[in-house]
């Protein structure tokens, strides 16, 4: 504890209320946490305590009750299972965990995930996998609007349909949407690939259909195999048309030399 009374958690980050409930049932590397009567802050503090200080590798959280910001900022390899739905910003900013959510999630699930796996058994809200940088986000239901906005890596796999502006400003990575997508697919995308199984309401600016290769087939079959999703549906591939690429890699001084 320092002069102003702040404490720091196992990651060295400031923790305003450092007391940890310590109510989980721990059995070796596994633990079960009933979150019913805990605040969001306490649930997350308990989770970090289990994973960073108690050597637990597999946590099951009961009664998340659709609360926001659960399981955020976990930066270690582990397995986390939520027995129920999450609210907004679920498991955002994570690096490493394998997360199973047996329920639904609100907006911005797995936002900015660096690596790991997040599997959602039901639906997800808008902005699923926003700014995703790595890892796999699998949604077995439908997703809302702007899925994978600003995505910079990783894979988003959706078995149901997706809303408007899917892959908006996407920069890298892949999305597989098995159902229909709303208007403005891949609007202003820079790079990356979006596969769509159903109907496309409309393409966004500078999003075009791409050429299918064997590598696409191999990649999609591999992802479906890993998550036990059976055989993939017939998909179409969409990429950036690069017509909006009005810039080049030359510095102004270099450009002068070329001219």
């Amino acid at each position: 504890m320092d002069a102003v009374g702040a404490t720091y958690d196992a990651r060295g980050l400031v923790e305003l209320d450092g007391t940890i409930p310590q109510i989980s049932e721990i059995d070796g590397e596994r633990a079960v946490l009933d979150a019913r009567d805990l605040s969001t802050r306490k649930i997350n503090a308990e989770l970090r305590w289990l994973l960073y200080e108690q050597g637990v590798k597999d946590v099951t959280i009961l009664n998340p009750s659709a609360r926001h910001s659960l399981g955020v900022g976990i930066l270690t390899r582990c397995r986390i299972t939520f027995e129920g739905s999450l609210g907004y910003f679920g498991v955002g900013l994570i690096d490493g965990p394998e997360v199973q959510i047996n329920g639904r999630v609100g907006w911005s699930v797995a936002e900015n995930m660096m690596s790991g796996v997040v599997v959602i058994e039901s639906n997800a809200g808008s902005l699923a996998g926003a700014a995703l940088r790595g890892g796999d986000l699998v949604v077995k239901g439908q997703v809302g609007a702007r899925t994978g906005i600003d995505q910079k890596g990783g894979t988003i796999l959706v078995l149901g349909s997706a809303g408007s502006m899917t892959g908006f400003m996407m920069q890298r990575g892949r999305q597989i949407i098995c159902g229909d997508v709303g208007p403005g697919l891949g609007d202003s995308m820079y790079d990356g690939t979006i596969y769509v199984g159903g109907k496309v309401a409309s393409l966004g600016i500078d999003c075009v259909e791409g050429e299918w290769t064997d590598a696409d087939t191999e990649y999609i079959e591999r992802k479906f195999r890993i998550y036990g999703l059976g055989s993939p549906p017939e998909l179409k591939k969409f990429v950036c048309g690069k017509k909006l690429y009005n810039y080049d890699s030359l510095e102004p001084s270099e450009r002068k030399l070329v001219l």
């Binding site: 659709a66 926001h68 639904r104 639906n123 809200g125 439908q142 809302g144 609007a145 809303g163 408007s164």
Partner: protein, 311 residues
């Protein structure tokens, strides 16, 4: 940001504790808007009308004349109702600066509402056979206890937890809005409308009155105008997607229906839960879970969605 919520029970005539349920939903979304809280609640049809009137708000601590002004407004409103032939049954003054009048009336309701509003500082928040709008500053639990809403038994309701972005923090700018002068129609809205001034001028020229500077008031008046021209609630709402610009999710209620509309960008959140017993919708699932306390199947309706349920 704002939090909106709606609930409608589908099991026919059975009356439910809709006031308590709505308070729980709104309190769970307090973080979305702590400025003011509003309710539009529907009780089973009564044979008379209920009018909620907001009286003056105090001009700070130095407003020594405030209590006297309220007393004068109350008696003026009562006199005016009687003079137009309304048979007043009951006057309830639960909160200091509001009054609820139950009355019978056979004449023109618009004329009656206009005459009451002509009392300086008075505003008719709602008027109808079953609609009651209550709105005030503070969170849901504060407003519910001030106006004894947890005891309200009814059929359906909408509510709003407001974070003011486009206009002042006061009661006039709080939601829900009554679709003046149409009895039993009310709206809550989360979002911003960008063609507000255009629509306000247009609707004012058509003779409609506005009580606030809040962009959301447009939706209520707009829908009322459409329905006056013969459109159904659903038709009016579908049309609004093209005619109102900006980002919005709004919920509109009538005597026997509850409808929701989302803009074409899907920019504002809405989570929907449908079962045989009830339909509950809110900006966040956490609000619905305060009424249905178990794991449930919910989803986000897509952009451009218009849905209507009847009880």
């Amino acid at each position: 940001m704002c939090g909106i919520a709606g609930i409608i029970y589908r099991n026919g005539e059975e009356r439910q504790e809709v006031g308590r349920d709505m308070t729980r939903m709104l309190q769970a979304m307090k973080h979305r808007g702590p400025d003011s809280t509003g309710y539009a609640l529907y009780r089973p049809d009564t044979d008379g009308y209920v009018m909620h009137v907001k009286l003056s708000e105090a001009n700070g601590n130095g407003d020594f004349d405030f209590a006297e002004r309220l007393r004068r407004q109350r008696s003026q409103i009562e006199d005016r109702l009687r003079s137009l032939g309304a048979r007043v049954r009951d006057i309830d003054a639960t909160a200091e600066h509001a009054m609820t009048v139950t009355f019978d009336h056979d004449g023109d309701l618009k004329q009656l509402a206009d005459y009451v509003e002509d009392v300086r500082g008075a505003e008719v928040l709602s008027l109808g056979r079953s609609l009651e709008i209550v709105k005030d500053l503070g969170d849901a639990e504060t407003v519910a206890s001030d106006y004894r809403l947890n005891e309200f038994i009814g059929t359906h309701a909408i509510g709003h937890a407001r974070m003011a972005t486009e206009s002042d923090v006061d009661i006039a700018n709080a939601h829900p809005y009554w679709a003046y002068p149409f009895p039993d129609v009310a709206v809550v809205h989360n979002g911003q409308l960008t063609n507000y001034h255009q629509w306000r001028r247009r609707l004012e020229r058509a003779g409609h009155r506005f009580q606030s500077e809040c962009d959301s008031e447009i939706i209520a008046v707009y829908l009322a105008e459409r329905m006056a021209q013969g459109d159904s609630l659903e038709e009016s709402m579908r049309r609004s997607l093209h005619e109102l610009d900006g980002v919005f999710t709004y919920i509109c209620v009538t005597e026997d229906a509850l409808g929701v509309a989302k803009d074409e960008l899907g920019a504002k959140p809405l989570v929907l839960y449908e079962s045989d017993d009830l339909v509950a919708l809110a900006s966040e699932e956490i609000a619905i879970r305060k009424v249905v306390d178990r794991e449930i199947e919910t989803y986000d309706p897509y952009e451009g969605a218009v849905m209507v349920w009847t009880r």
